[in-house]
Each structure stands twice: as structure tokens, then as C-alpha cells.
Symmetry: C2
Subunit: 403 residues, 2 copies
């Protein structure tokens, strides 16, 4: 019998509980023992819950779980940054394996928690923290044995992608966001999603694993979806492309670049047909070539599924192929990020137009909005120019053309 | 030290040898021991080889490898059906683990060899037999713990897909095939590829694992690319679609359907942007939803990479999550396969036209060729009609519309 302490009983926690119930027999066959949730930590003991759970296993006292010596695995599914971190580090220090879906905690404390788990000879697994149901972490770790990973590129945030799909179907940004919130993809405060903070956390986790170097959130250039409007969707569609918020890390001889930004993908791109809340991650290995993993980036059962894959690996004693993090020094060369950019300004004047024309490879539109495709330029130079022009953040949209 | 006997030193064998050399240090770190190729079986000792290998490890005598007690793992990379089968079964009987890239052997003797390996308590792994470098077999096996797989759908043959891409670029079938052969994707005798036999073998392997039922090659309805011409590419493009050779298994309450046939995918399909020799496989699990795995379906290093992933799992003693094959009885209901079909006949008459019009949802073309989209119909009924019309195989092309 393996006893689990489940922290949090929201979307993910309930999914974990339900899958464990419905696949009891199969899990017993594979794991050779029964996997049981012994305690569930909740904030409010009296809250009405969508499923029935024996009241005796619900607690609002974390210490009760921490001190229960029968509990060997903690599933952290609170989604809270501070509490999540406290629970995870206390659990590891108390000798319990940890599985988490909490990307904010993993991103902020990745090296520290990995080291702590190593020191305690415990598992610290976080498949569900990136790509929802896609088994991207495990596959990435396995690829590292035979490959140098030279590129990572992915649609890592289901909410943004959902919003983009809905805008392609004709809605404006606010309408699209509202539906995403109703469907449970987007939080009430969508800042983390639409500004790209969530995607950056996931890229930080993937990048640190893949490059074996310390790639922190601050090392990743970030530009979210702010400013996007129906006119951008329309013009990019005319170019036979589509806008996707993409996280990308590229390694070269001189260092690495890391960025999350809106990208215009062509209709031949494997990212073109990633719609709604789906995620897709490309890993380029020097031996295996390009692999792409695609699936649900959010949702109760896909995420709970990823959590339980980690639990199974712990119970079966499958040693995770994991090298120490941060064993390589790599120079960050984000200042070299360049490309041809789509730029739309909604406030304009003859002066602004004259300046934009000087960097334009093509002027696409010139009325109340100015839309250009720039020449091949450094991103930094474009942003400097925008600053000089004193354009507000909500009055422009900038997206790099893929390739 | 783990000693390997490598059978065959062609494309895949040489790739295995080279990756083992270049990743020696990493493999030692992960596996805790050195992995060494002790013997290589070749047909002709004196053949000129593209890479230098110590002559003392080359042999043309299989028994020398079989009787070498230091060799614990056999990599079978001969590509030959009869010999491959003999080597694999002898190796298992002699107590050696087996890794193979040989889809023909796995497909033909899947249950028998799996049982033999189980009985001997040995590994029999075959990641490279499906999807080239894509880790599809391992991911599928892991998904089976928490999911019922209700659908498999994949582009499983790199040669066919390469030919289709080249035809989309304007070549005719023979020109496209010739380039595929020059690039080393297609064999001199391309029958197995273009008639869909190779894709069927791979679907048989995936389907048997996923459904835990005996799904033999004969249970899979097969229609290859025969008959396809530039006019079909052109018309399907006009419909905003593309033709892909797709293997598909669907499970319902009444049984399962299994078919390899040309499918018209829409430009919103995840298969639309699978070009050249790439493969992509969709697995639909009842918990995780749709997962798609995409990568190189052929080529030296991707395939050798897959072989070595299996070797690593054996050396690290990672128990493969594998249930017994064929533990479920499922009824084959291929007779229920239906859809809207694109049908082009290159020989025609007023009589034929009148008959086709009666099953047409839309007539797309009516000159020297007749092209129709049929109503929603059983495939069997369309094929019966074609037979009644006495149309030769090379004089028509038939592709189902996806969805």
C-alpha cells in the first residue's frame, strides 16, 4: 500500500482523486500495490464539493499530513506560490517524495528544490507543471542522454492560444478572454497568462533541463499578447499566417537566446494547426532531429493524468534520468535576437510614418493604423524606436515572422 | 560492462555504432557502466564500409555471437524477415535481451516473440519499428496504465509522405518516387511502402498494444497510394485539403475498425503540416485526451536513436510497462467503415457518369476524368461499384475525407 497526501482539492486535485478511483485495478497490476489517498488538505472543511469524499480524510492542517509516517508521497496541487513552496520543502525535509503541478513554485525554486530532493534521495517530479497532459518533461529528460538539445520552441500557454483561436473566429480580445474564463482556462486575473508570465515559467523549466544551465525567468525576454487587436489577426491571415505566443530557446556556439513573444507562423508550420487550449512543444536534438509533442495544455483530467504518471514512476521505482541542473555556463545573448517583424501602430502621424517607412521592408497599411513588415532587424532596435516614438504599450502590436 | 551483439551493419547498424561512440561518456554516467559493441554480424566480411571498424569484431557467423556468453543484448538491425525472425528467437532462447528495428518481424511474430521473451524473463523491445525516431511505443505503453485508448491515427510511412510532399510541389508520382529512392527513403522495390504494407505493419503493432487485442495485418483494411496522379493533388488542393496515407484504428462499443488508406485532411488538421519523411501519430486516451507525437519517420540517426533508447532501458533495468498482448476479444467491424469519398476515374463513359452521379454529393470535374465527392457511404459499397464498372486499379483514385 502506498499512501498519498494530496494538497489542494481544486480542478487538478479532484481529477487526481477521480482517475485514481477509476483506474484502481490497472494501477494495482502495474505498481504491484494499492495506491490510496490517505489525506486531503483543504482550506475550508465545510465547502461544498462537486464530488463526495469521506470526511475523515479531509483536513485543514498540513502538519497532520506531514507527521503521518504512512504517507510517503505528497501531491502538491494548491497552485499557490508561497504555500506551495513551503509545503514542498517541508515535505522533502520530512522524507516524503513530492509530485507537483505548480509551475510557479518549480520555476522560482527549481535548483533549490532539486538539490534538496537529491540530498534527501527523494523524487521531486513536476510533469504537470509544463504542457498539461503532454509527457514533455519525461521525454525531454530521456532525450538528454543521447542528444544535445539545440532548440526548444513551444506553445506553452493554453489560455493565450485559446484567445487567439477565438479571435481568428471573429471575436475581439475581451470577448475571447471572457469565454476562456467561462471555460475555466483563464483565471479571473488573466495577467500571468496573457502577459506571457506563465509561458515564461514553463520555458524556464524546460530550458534549464535541456541546456543544463541556469536559465532563470529574468534571462528570458518577455513580450505577451498585450495590444493585439482584430486588425492584427486580419492582416496576418492575409499573409497566410497566424499569430501564436511562442517560447523559444536557441543554442549556438556563442551562447543562447531565450524569449517568449508573439510569432507569425506560416500555414506550413507545425504550430499553425495548434488551436484552442492545445499546447505543442518542439525539441530539436542533434541525433533524433525534431520531435514535436502535442496535447491538452490545460484541463482537469490531462493535468491530473500528468501528476499520476509521476506518482506511478515513483511507486515503480523508475529512476528518473536526470542530470544535475546548472552544470553548464552559457552566455545569454538575447541582444542578438533579430528577425523580420510585423509592427502595427494605432496612433500615427506623418512624422511617425516617415520613420517607420525607413525600417520597413513592406508597408501593409496606412490609414488610421500603420502596419509594416520591418527589414531584418534586432528586436532591441525596434523596441528602442517604439520608445523614442513614445507609443503606449496598448497602442502597438509587434510579432516576429517565423523562420 | 554491457556487451552488445549487433546484427546488420547497414543504415541503422552504422548509426547505432556512431551514436554509441559519440555519447560514450553520457551513457556511462546514466547507465553506470560502459556499453560496448562486442561483435557485428555482416553478410560480406570484405565489403567496403563507410566507417572504420576493428576487423576483429566483425563476423559473418551468427553462432559466434549467440554462443558468446559475455553478450547480453542483441540489436537486430538486418531488416530481413526470415533471418531476422530466426536471429531474434534464437537470441531469446539463448537468454539474451533483444532490441529490434525490424517491423516486418515484429508484425508477423508479435505475440509469439513477446510470449517467448516473457517466458524467458527477458526484454524484447522494438521502439524503432514504428515511427523512426519518435518515442511512440514507450509513450503508448505508459499511457495504457491510466487510459483506454479509443483511437489511433497516424502517418506511419515516411516514403509515402515524402512522395506526397513532392507531388504537392509539382512533381508527378514517378519523379517523386525517384527522388525518394535517391534520398534513401524508398527501397528499390517500393511496393511495401506505396501499397501501404509497411504502414499496415506499424498499425498492427500499435493497435495490438493499444487495444490489448489480437489485431493482425489481415484485420486491417488496406488501400495504398496506387492510382494517385497530379490531378488528384490539384483537386484536393482546391478543396483546401491535402492527401495523406493514414493508418487509423477506432474503438466503439460494437468493436473496432482498422484501415490504412489515403485520407483528405483539411488545412486545420494536425496532419496537414506533416511533410516529407516526417511521421505523426495521434493517440486518443479517455483521460489524457488527444496526444500527437511527431518526428522523423526514417533516417539513420533517428532510427538508431530509438534503438539505443531501448538499450538504455534494458541496461538501467527500467521495467517496461507492458501488459500481455491479446487479452481482449474485440470484434472487427471494418464493414462499417464509411465516409464521404473523393473518387476520380480516368476512363469514363456516359454510362459510368450516370452511375457515379447517383452516388455523388458533388461532381467536381467531368471531362476526360470524372471526379466526384460521394455522399456519406460505406467504403465497401463504393469498392463494389468500382468493381462492377470494371475500372482497373491504376485508373482510379479514392480517398476518404477526414472527419
Amino acid at each position: 500500500m502506498v499512501n498519498i497526501g494530496l494538497l489542494g482539492f481544486g480542478t487538478v486535485g479532484i481529477g487526481v482523486f477521480q482517475i485514481l478511483e477509476s483506474r484502481e485495478e490497472e494501477l494495482k497490476n502495474i505498481c504491484g500495490c494499492h495506491i490510496k489517498i490517505k489525506k486531503i488538505l483543504v482550506k475550508d472543511l465545510n465547502k461544498n464539493r462537486p464530488i463526495k469524499v469521506d470526511a475523515s480524510i479531509i483536513t485543514d492542517n498540513f502538519d497532520e499530513i506531514l507527521e503521518d509516517e504512512d504517507i510517503s508521497i505528497i501531491i502538491e496541487a494548491t497552485g499557490a506560490l508561497e504555500e506551495g513552496y513551503t509545503y514542498i520543502s517541508k515535505a522533502l525535509k520530512a522524507g516524503k517524495h513530492v509530485v507537483t503541478a505548480n509551475k510557479a513554485v518549480v520555476s522560482k525554486h527549481f535548483e533549490e528544490l532539486t538539490e534538496l530532493a537529491d540530498k534527501m534521495d527523494l523524487y521531486f517530479l513536476y510533469e504537470a507543471s509544463v504542457g498539461g497532459g503532454i509527457p514533455i518533461i519525461k521525454n525531454l529528460k530521456e532525450l538528454l542522454v543521447l542528444n544535445e538539445i539545440v532548440e526548444i520552441k513551444g506553445i506553452l500557454n493554453g489560455t493565450c492560444n485559446y484567445i487567439l483561436t477565438k479571435m481568428e473566429e471573429g471575436l475581439n480580445y475581451s470577448e475571447a478572454l471572457k469565454i476562456a474564463q467561462e471555460k475555466g482556462f483563464a483565471e479571473l486575473d488573466p495577467t500571468d497568462d496573457v502577459e506571457g508570465l506563465d509561458a515564461r515559467r514553463k520555458l524556464r523549466i524546460l530550458g534549464s533541463l535541456a541546456l543544463k544551465a541556469k536559465i532563470l525567468e529574468k534571462d528570458i525576454f518577455l513580450r505577451g499578447l498585450r495590444g493585439i487587436g482584430p486588425i492584427d489577426i486580419e492582416y496576418v491571415d492575409k499573409m497566410d499566417g497566424a499569430i501564436r505566443l511562442i517560447g523559444e530557446i536557441k543554442v549556438s556556439q556563442n551562447g543562447y537566446t531565450a524569449i517568449v513573444e508573439p510569432i507569425i507562423v506560416s500555414k506550413n508550420s507545425p504550430f499553425y494547426n495548434v488551436h484552442n487550449e492545445k499546447n505543442a512543444v518542439l525539441l530539436r536534438g542533434d541525433q533524433v532531429g525534431d520531435l514535436i509533442f502535442y496535447g491538452s495544455g490545460a484541463g482537469r483530467f490531462p493535468t491530473a493524468h500528468a501528476v499520476l504518471c509521476d506518482v506511478i514512476d515513483i511507486v515503480r521505482g523508475v529512476e528518473t534520468i536526470e542530470r544535475s541542473l546548472a552544470i553548464r555556463e552559457l552566455e545569454n545573448i538575447n541582444k542578438t535576437i533579430k528577425g523580420r517583424y510585423y509592427l502595427r501602430l494605432s496612433k500615427s502621424s506623418q512624422d511617425i510614418y516617415t520613420i517607420l517607412e525607413s525600417i520597413a521592408w513592406e508597408v501593409l497599411h496606412k490609414e488610421e493604423n500603420i502596419i509594416i513588415m520591418t527589414k531584418d532587424m534586432f528586436l532591441n532596435d525596434i523596441l528602442k524606436l517604439i520608445k523614442v516614438l513614445e507609443v503606449k504599450e496598448e497602442d502597438y502590436f509587434l510579432a516576429r515572422k517565423e523562420g
